[in-house]
């Protein structure tokens, strides 16, 4: 798992781009590729997308 030290290297003090945003930490990054969590998200995202599809046909 990447650590914060590695993650914060892309931030430059007072840079109006990188200093003003949020960068995901190690746990967030882990969740993005965690197979079990992503399988759950897969089901949820599919259901949400189907809901949007069904709202779009008139």
């Amino acid at each position: 798992m990447a650590d914060y030290k590695d993650i914060q290297k892309n931030i430059t003090p007072y840079d109006d781009k990188t200093y003003g945003t949020m960068i995901p930490g190690p746990f967030q990054r882990f969740l993005r590729t965690c197979k079990i969590w992503q399988f759950i998200r897969f089901i949820i995202i599919n259901l949400k997308m189907l809901a949007v599809v069904s709202k779009s046909h008139h």
Binding site: I7, V52, H57
Partner: protein, 491 residues
């Protein structure tokens, strides 16, 4: 027997033609006119552009599919529309020029009762001097052949980096009036992912250049989603991803000229700049494909049927208005031409009433505003909706004059879109941004502030999005080939 002629066999036209034939059966004729022999699942061109798929993976031959379906396919390009017919005949027709190698250059007049124009965009590289693969200065992923060419350059770049060379990648939009930022966004993050996989990320400088006023505008005025107990703008989310992956960006840029290894641009604040690059993939602006229209006497009525940008006029409110006065109701619902009721335009081919993003000009007066995107899902839904309406008219459920009261409607202001933007193709460590937005065109009256319904507008990054993107590829290739159960796959 009625005849529907569909111009274009892309996402919108193919959907319209196949559903119309499915609903009408052999009692009526469906003719498709399209210049390419192959159908292309365009979203996967991104993966062709980084060598993760081959061009053959993203296309199939149209002729056998149409033969099986009973659709008459003419491999030809439409040149002109004659909605009043010609002297001696009231039957409207389209003039087509064959691109089929067996009949190349031959022309034909194809008569129609109902016309569905689904000709999509012309890739208008000529709008920016030096832009595009033909000029040889920048690359594109808009067609599978362009994407394959981009991949050849990409693989060369990786080889150079493996030998220790530094390579600079510049990805984005090649003009102030471009749309389709999403495709460039997907490409830049697939490049970034592939370079990491190849172990050469440290040798690459990767930079984004785009006409968006802010990162994450995407031509839809950005969007807001619920995230960790907050309502967060796509600006923050996009900047987060760029910063996380070490990708720099320039926004509000109109690319003025592209030369070998460098380009010149103008920013909203009027400053001019130059960027050098080893590898540039820049999306061109889109226009209509350049169809002409003539009245019965042969007079040119192109201006009556099409907007100056070449897209066909439909039932939108085209009155020029300032951004503050834009309404959801300006957007077309039935896609019917106001002058010729039997003519419809779907997908990218219809003229939108105005951009979705707030218009902006540089201090020098150069317009720098993303044009409105009409992505795959709206294009598919609109194609199917119009096909349903035309079939209803053919079946006598209502007349063409009654379409606006009784027809099926699909306004982009009452329709959502699901978008999955790949940020790295790998079954186990790939990822994608999975987004839904509802409605596509913000309705600030219904949803004050953000213009969108927070229940149906969401997004997240992860492996699940990659799985969905991958499954969509196979699902839509299956559906477009009319394989068993194709009608059950939603568009």
């Amino acid at each position: 027997m009625a005849r529907i002629v569909v111009l274009g066999a892309g996402v919108s036209g193919h959907t319209a033609a196949t559903f119309a034939k499915h609903w009408l059966g052999d009692k009526h004729e469906v003719v498709v006119v399209s210049p390419n022999s192959k159908w292309n699942w365009i979203p996967s061109n991104i993966w062709v552009g980084v060598g993760e798929m081959s061009p053959e993976d993203v296309v199939f031959e149209l002729a056998p599919v149409y033969k099986k379906a009973g659709i008459d396919f003419k491999q030809a390009k439409a040149v002109s529309i004659h909605p009043e017919g010609k002297e001696g005949s009231d039957r409207p027709f389209v003039t087509v020029e064959y691109t089929d190698p067996n009949k190349k250059g031959e022309t034909e007049e194809v008569e129609y009762d109902y016309l569905i124009n689904a000709t999509g965009p012309k890739l208008n590289f000529a709008a920016t001097p030096g832009l595009g693969p033909d000029e040889g200065n920048s690359l594109s992923v808009c067609t599978y052949l362009h994407a394959a060419e981009a991949n050849t350059h990409f693989q060369n770049a990786i080889e150079r980096m493996k030998k220790g060379e530094k390579v600079k990648f510049l990805i984005g939009t090649g003009h102030g009036m471009c749309t389709c930022q999403g495709a460039a966004f997907e490409y830049i993050f697939n490049i970034e992912h592939e370079l990491r996989e190849a172990g050469v990320r440290d040798k690459a400088e990767i930079k984004w250049i785009s006409n968006e006023q802010f990162l994450g505008d995407f031509g839809v005025a950005g969007l807001h989603i619920k995230w960790g107990g907050h309502i967060v703008s796509s600006k923050v989310l996009a900047e987060s991803l760029f910063a996380e992956r070490g990708v720099d960006w320039i926004t509000g840029a109109h690319v003025k000229e592209v030369q070998k290894g460098k380009l010149q641009y103008e920013l909203l604040d009027g400053t001019e700049g130059e960027e050098t690059f080893d590898f540039a993939m820049l999306i061109p602006p889109f226009s209509g494909v350049g169809l002409k229209a003539y009245d019965k006497a042969g007079n040119d009525i192109t201006d009556k049927v099409f907007m100056p940008n070449g897209f066909m006029k439909v039932d939108a409110d085209y009155t020029p208005k300032p951004f503050e006065e834009w309404k959801a109701s300006d957007w077309p619902k039935y896609y019917q031409n106001p002058d010729y009721a039997n003519m419809f335009a779907v997908g990218i081919a219809f003229a939108p009433p105005h951009p979705i993003s707030k218009p902006a000009k540089s201090v020098n007066g150069t317009p720098i505003t993303p044009a409105p995107p009409r992505t795959g899902m709206p294009s598919g839904i609109i194609g199917k909706t119009v096909a349903r309406t035309v079939c209803d008219v053919i079946e006598g459920k209502y007349s063409l004059e009654e379409v606006k009261e009784k027809g099926h409607h699909a306004s982009m202001a009452e329709m959502g879109a699901a978008c999955v933007a790949s940020t790295g193709k790998s079954i186990w460590n790939g990822s994608a941004v999975a987004l839904t937005v509802y409605p596509v065109v913000p309705d600030y009256d219904r949803f004050p502030g953000t213009g969108r319904d927070p229940e149906y507008t969401f997004g997240e990054i992860g492996l699940a999005g990659h799985w969905i993107k991958h499954i969509l590829h196979y699902m839509f290739m299956w559906k477009a080939q009319l394989k068993p159960g194709w009608t059950l796959i939603p568009e």
